[in-house]
Amino acid sequence: MRDLVVATVRDILAAHEPFVLTRERPWDSGLWAELAEAGLTGVGIPEEAGGSGGELADAVAIVATLAAGAAAVPVAEQLLVAAPAVLAADLDLPAPDEPLSAAVDGAVTAEPRDDGDGPGSWTLIGTATDVAWAGVAQHLVVLAGSPVGPVLALVDVAGRETTHAANLAGEPRGSLVLQGVTAAGALLTERQADELRARYALARAVQLSAALEQVLAWTVQYAGERQQFGRPLGKFQAVQMQLAEMAGEVTAVAALVDSAVQAIERGDSPVLAAAAAKVRAGSAVEVVARLAHQVHGAIGFTQEHRLHHLTRRCWSWRDEAGTETAWARVLGAGLLADGPDALWPALTRVL
């Protein structure tokens, strides 16, 4: 099934031009409609919840394929972060063709409503910042703080005003004012909240891994085709050293991210595995993007060239859902949880 799903995504992508994001065209709604029609925005979501079935790894494969294609659609957020969180919290999942995103930064507080609706209904107060696909998503999963612990709330945000902000690739990252909004929600444990943040980080790591792999492939291809001083770039030893260095980074990231996904699928705690994946993937961006642009030369620096669709995303994705530095601290602290003499056992337990 996974190969078929990936082939379908590729076919759909192939019919779409690289999408140039602007303030006026903040997402590729046409691509989304096709993906939704093919049931691909519901993969990994059980059929009884309105989804298309399939496993986490299928959803990951879709997210990776779309990331490598620089697709301007909120599929990573929906399939890997928001929908699993809604299902785990036993809330009603919106239809998979209505874009769903997540805000986990926690500048929002939730108060239980006292109108008799019970603990399942909350009033949200505050502003969700740096919201992926703000203004595009129709529903938003918000991780809010409350006097009784973290709350996962599901908010209908269709038509709600958002501030304009975008990441380096132009993907919408605006803020939403949620002052006094009523929403269905569920209490989480602190650990569940941490795991939600970790899943978000892992989603970005999956995207990074796929994008970096594609950047390598494009660069190898370019080096094989572009002639300089009478021979292909790829025949120059200096360029070979650069491509091999890129390949080293990409291969290491791919193995770690892939293993992290599998560990989570096996039911292991995602926090340290996701932290490691996000740190490793993020730190590869500097090398891979730099060398890709260096090998491509000036042409790769232009808007017409495809390269920037991925390098700009990578420069932002490494910062999003927690920077490398933030996750590195989490990983470092987590590995020392049983004391410094237990570092090695801790390392071998992560993955």
Partner: protein, 386 residues
């Protein structure tokens, strides 16, 4: 140290410190008046003819040129101080930058008296801007492979056909010093048959097409020449001497402070964060970055001193550009490691905005004016290796 890399020390110049203070005062007043705001990499992206004219009025363009061409007969050390202050402030200097740094000196070196008298005073006034017409779509680092050609017509004028790319700000400039093939390519003598022409960009047959860079900014252009008739007296230097002339020109442009200060505004913004936090690890990062900057400054100053002595230190200049542009990009990583601020042009945090500007321009630092691989080849040659 091989003699090719040795640079004699410079003695501090009181005149340079004097003009530095004047520029600093000027910039503070302009910033206070809101004439400009600080940005990263403004010597590529900060086009502001009014600002350029102000600098011209104050005598800060064409500083080292003879007075009879509108220059001010000041030292390279004084000019160094002025350019460095402008870059550190992130001032909008892109309009005149190439003309003042490179094209003017090129005219002084190779131009006819008429060319100099006509053009240099206008450059020094901040009113006449140049682009570099070297690269072509297929040439890449192999400049000898260019295909734009110029042939003499019956009137003795040049008829130019071809296209140049990566011409910074051609849409706001007046002239392009254009490298053309004036004799057919000869595989046995790849560097022969090239010449430089002084091309007025308003001539019929010239089309300027924008090439937007990855963040959508319009700084570069493609300049297409379609049977453009360039007057015969607009040859720059000798026919057939183009390779030698561009090599000298490139050496000239490589050692300036714009090769390590493009991202200085990011350092300045980071310093504000460090001063607030007082965090020891951040202080150490600021110190590390500053030490690298200070070393580059000494190298660049020493090259300015060598220029004052009439030398052409091409190999150290290549080295400064390699080390300096690597540093410009490394600044981003150093800051990213030290703070926890996502890069975004829309960030409410000025540090986030500076990171975003620096990152989006980063691929250019080590490509423009000769890739670092080419530069390292030049340095290796200077070490006696090939």
């Amino acid at each position: 140290m091989p003699s090719t890399l040795t640079l004699a020390p410079v003695v501090p110049s009181a005149a340079a410190e004097q003009v530095r203070a004047e520029v600093r005062e000027f910039l503070a007043a302009e910033l206070a008046a809101g004439t400009f705001t600080t940005h990263v990499d403004t010597w590529l992206s900060g086009v502001d003819p009014a600002f350029s004219r102000k600098l011209g009025e104050r005598g800060w363009l064409g500083m080292t040129w003879p007075r009879r061409y509108g220059g001010h007969e000041r030292t390279a050390m004084e000019r160094y101080a002025v350019t460095e202050e402008l870059l550190a402030a992130g001032a909008p200097v892109a309009a005149h930058w190439i003309a003042d740094r490179q094209s003017g000196p090129n005219l002084l070196r190779y131009g006819t008296e008429a060319q100099r008298a006509e053009i240099l005073p206008r450059i020094a006034a901040g009113e006449c801007y140049f682009v570099i017409g070297m690269s072509e779509p297929d040439s890449g680092s192999d400049l000898a492979s260019i295909r734009t050609r110029a042939t003499r017509n019956g009137d003795g004028d040049w008829v130019v056909n071809g296209a140049k790319v990566w011409t910074s700000n051609a849409h706001t400039s007046h002239y392009a010093i254009t490298l053309v093939r004036t004799s057919p390519a000869d595989p046995a003598h790849r560097h022969a048959g090239l010449s430089q022409l002084l091309v007025d960009l308003s001539l019929p047959g010239i089309t300027v097409n924008p090439i937007r860079i990855l963040d959508g900014g319009h700084h570069f252009n493609e300049v297409v020449f379609d049977d453009v008739v360039v007057p015969g007296d607009m040859l720059l230097g000798e026919e057939g001497n183009g390779w030698h002339q561009v090599t000298a020109e490139l050496a000239f442009e490589r050692s300036g402070p714009e090769r390590f200060l493009s991202t200085y505004p990011l350092i300045a913004e980071f310093a504000r964060r460090v001063a607030d936090s007082g965090d020891p690890a951040q202080l150490a990062t600021l110190g590390r970055v500053s030490a690298r900057l200070l070393a580059l400054r000494q190298l660049s100053l020493r090259i300015a001193g060598a220029l004052d002595r009439g030398e052409l230190p091409d190999i150290p200049a290549a080295l400064v550009k390699d080390v300096g542009t690597t540093f410009e990009a490394d600044v981003i990583d150093e800051v990213r490691r030290a703070v926890d601020v996502p890069a975004s042009l829309d960030s409410p945090d000025p540090l986030g905005r500076a990171l975003a500007e620096a990152q989006l321009h980063a691929p250019g630092y080590t490509l423009r004016g000769g890739t670092n691989e080419i530069l390292r080849g030049i340095v290796a040659r200077g070490l006696g290796l090939r």
